[in-house]
């Protein structure tokens, strides 16, 4: 393993992507929440299933190519997850284009808000974010321990 693989070893790239995804999705949820009383506003969100499938495919591909212990994740764009930046297949930056509708009932002001579902989404999203942050922190402290040649 080369020094360049330090940041792409193990679950690190996957955790990083999850962190980015949940971070950006939080903003979308906050936007839907801010417009809870806006007439004609119909909340749109990003389906986490699409992200999970995209990430799963990328991890499978990496396992096939390198055995899975290290290497960049070559992920494919989806309708809602668009690549930004210039690193081609290896770039980790993306932006979300929310198109999935919540499918709640339409209120009189033509808003199909669903407060309980929004809250649930927010809690799940925050949990996913915490898991990703904890994973990254653990990976990082493992790396640090390995570099310092000591065992906890």
């Amino acid at each position: 393993m080369l020094i360049g693989d330090l940041t792409t070893s193990g679950a690190m790239p996957a955790a990083e992507m999850l962190l980015k995804f949940a971070g950006q999705r939080q903003k979308i949820i906050a936007h839907n929440m801010a417009n809870i009383d806006t007439p004609n506003f119909q909340p749109k969100n990003v389906d986490p299933k699409g992200f999970q499938k995209m990430l799963g495919d990328a991890i499978d591909l990496r396992r096939k190519k390198t055995g899975g212990a290290f290497g960049v994740l070559e992920w494919k764009e989806t309708r809602e997850i668009r690549r930004v930046g210039r690193f081609g297949g290896a770039g980790m930056d993306f932006e979300l284009r929310p198109t999935t509708s919540g499918g709640g009932i339409l209120h009189h002001d033509r808003n199909d808000r669903d407060l309980e579902r929004m809250m649930q989404e927010m809690v799940e999203n925050a949990t996913a974010y915490r898991v990703a942050a904890d994973l990254l922190r653990t990976q990082r402290s493992q790396l640090r321990n390995a570099i310092a040649q000591r065992v906890v």
Binding site: L19, A22, G23, Q24, Q26, K27, I28, I29, A30, H31, N32, M33, A34, N35, I36, D37, T38, P39, F41, K44, E95, L96, R97, P98, T99, L115, M118, M119, M122, V123, A126, Y129, R130, A133, D134, L136, R137, R140
Partner: protein, 134 residues
């Protein structure tokens, strides 16, 4: 991530503005003169919301685009001895139902709370991200 706080703040500002409009409606439910002492019944106001977008489907929160003054929102009240009464003894008073205003106020207050909850969650997430450095 930091944008999420801006979005929630915009929601709080919008709901607070709406609350101010509602408070003004309740306070002026019996106002029939303007500030120059002329006969001009207070007209009910309503805050109009619209989503803010940064393009490409990226939402940036909500804003109050207009405080709408509802023209003609008065009702005739029979007060024959009133100096502003017309020939039939009627005075135009603001058509404000305080019960409706209260309910709208409650709704604004709950929506404000929802935005606070979202901001709280975003804040916790930021703290998680910052702990990555520790």
């Amino acid at each position: 991530m930091y944008g999420a706080l801006d979005v929630s703040t915009s929601g709080m500002i919008a709901q607070r503005t709406r609350m101010e409009v509602i408070a003004s409606n309740i306070a002026n439910a019996g106002t029939i003169e303007n500030d120059r002492g002329e006969y001009e019944p207070y007209l009910r106001r309503a805050a109009m919301f619209a989503p803010v977008s940064a393009g490409k489907g990226v939402g940036m929160g909500v804003e109050v685009i207009e405080i709408q003054i509802q023209e003609g929102a008065t009702r005739a009240d029979y007060r024959p001895n009133h100096p502003f009464a017309d020939d039939d003894g009627y005075v135009q008073v603001p058509d404000i139902d305080t019960t409706v205003e209260w309910v709208n106020g409650l709704q604004a207050s709950r929506a404000y709370e929802a935005n606070v909850a979202a901001a709280e969650t975003s804040k916790n997430m930021m703290a998680q991200a910052l702990r990555l450095l520790a």
